[in-house]
Subunit: 214 residues, 2 copies
Amino acid sequence: MLGTPKRDRVAERRAATRREILDAAWEIARESGLTQITLRDVADRVGMQAPSLYSHFPSKMAIYDAMFGEAWGEYEATFAQLDGKVAALEADDPRAAMLLVSRHFYDFAVADHPRYQLMNERIVPGFEPSPESYAPSVRVMEDGRSRIMALGDISEADFTIWVSILGGLVNQYFANDQGGTRIHALLARAVDMWADAVGLPSKSAPSSPHRRKR
Amino acid sequence: MLGTPKRDRVAERRAATRREILDAAWEIARESGLTQITLRDVADRVGMQAPSLYSHFPSKMAIYDAMFGEAWGEYEATFAQLDGKVAALEADDPRAAMLLVSRHFYDFAVADHPRYQLMNERIVPGFEPSPESYAPSVRVMEDGRSRIMALGDISEADFTIWVSILGGLVNQYFANDQGGTRIHALLARAVDMWADAVGLPSKSAPSSPHRRKR
DNA sequence: GTCTATAGTTTGATAGAC
DNA sequence: GTCTATCAAACTATAGAC
């Protein structure tokens, strides 16, 4: 009997083509907006005719769906790189841990507007993520919530407020500060406001270092 | 000589038709999404053929533009109704004033998703508000900023953080709480976090009533 | 001011040859 | 798996009659 070859060259080629298609779609989204992706444009960029895309994705929405899953997967992956540092700080300096996670969220969001829109806003008419693509986003939120709540005895309500504050800052960045650092400069203060309120101790200044000076 | 008639019936009819067109557009936006408005659909609802709309608006974007100006005008108008109460509280209980303004912003935003998207997000490809339609939004922001900064000696940075917090809560409402009250219930606490940090006194409890209980 | 007719695009998707 | 050919639909906008 013939042994199974170690590498499946056909599958590899298929995966590579799929990758090219998604990259082209992201490129269009970044250049012209998330909702401006068209199959013809995608096909052009990968050197195909539009109908050929149907050999790789069953519909346009399936492309959006793959992008959605990918975006949350990227968030998960980039956070994993930071996880060691965060874990090390969790017990010793929870406030510094929060700031690290907050900055990561902000930087990741701000780096790619259409990605953020796809992940967190409902902009594409008719698009609803499939359960499979939705899974990473659920994992991320569950993990974030349980770990943040464990930092002190922080309520779920306060976790939601933290998420709101970060999302709000990202909004302001895209609305009034694109390419700038004005909003980024407010991040630490905003997180400290929250940390003070939920009673998160800080190593450098245990009480409320950011109360207004008188 | 003939006197000018007191009422211009032609102009009145024109204004009424314009009103009908805008109402139809809002209706479609609420039913199907802001970007789903089509001239045919608008025309159908007002009992016209699509090309007839061009007697009232020079382009589809002009309809969006009118809607944009209208939305900020509505905000201005609804806030004006509240202004007496806010002004009365400003000196005596600035924290209560902030909460009133915050609730108004939140309630107004949450009442109409496409309106909020048109006002604060850039969802419609190619749409840029005209200077005339943009004017009310500038007025609202300028007035809000100067009055809030005058409540205590609050910095512009902290004003921006307040705007971010509110926008973030609205986001969370639309993402995870549509039709619910979960996020609304967090509003007072979030505003208090901010008020504590900027040193806004409260009549009922001058210091930090919302610090975590131990 | 509203109509009909239509130009001129653009779009997502399918059929079938190779 | 990619192609050509094409469908069927939708869209904004203009021209010109009434």
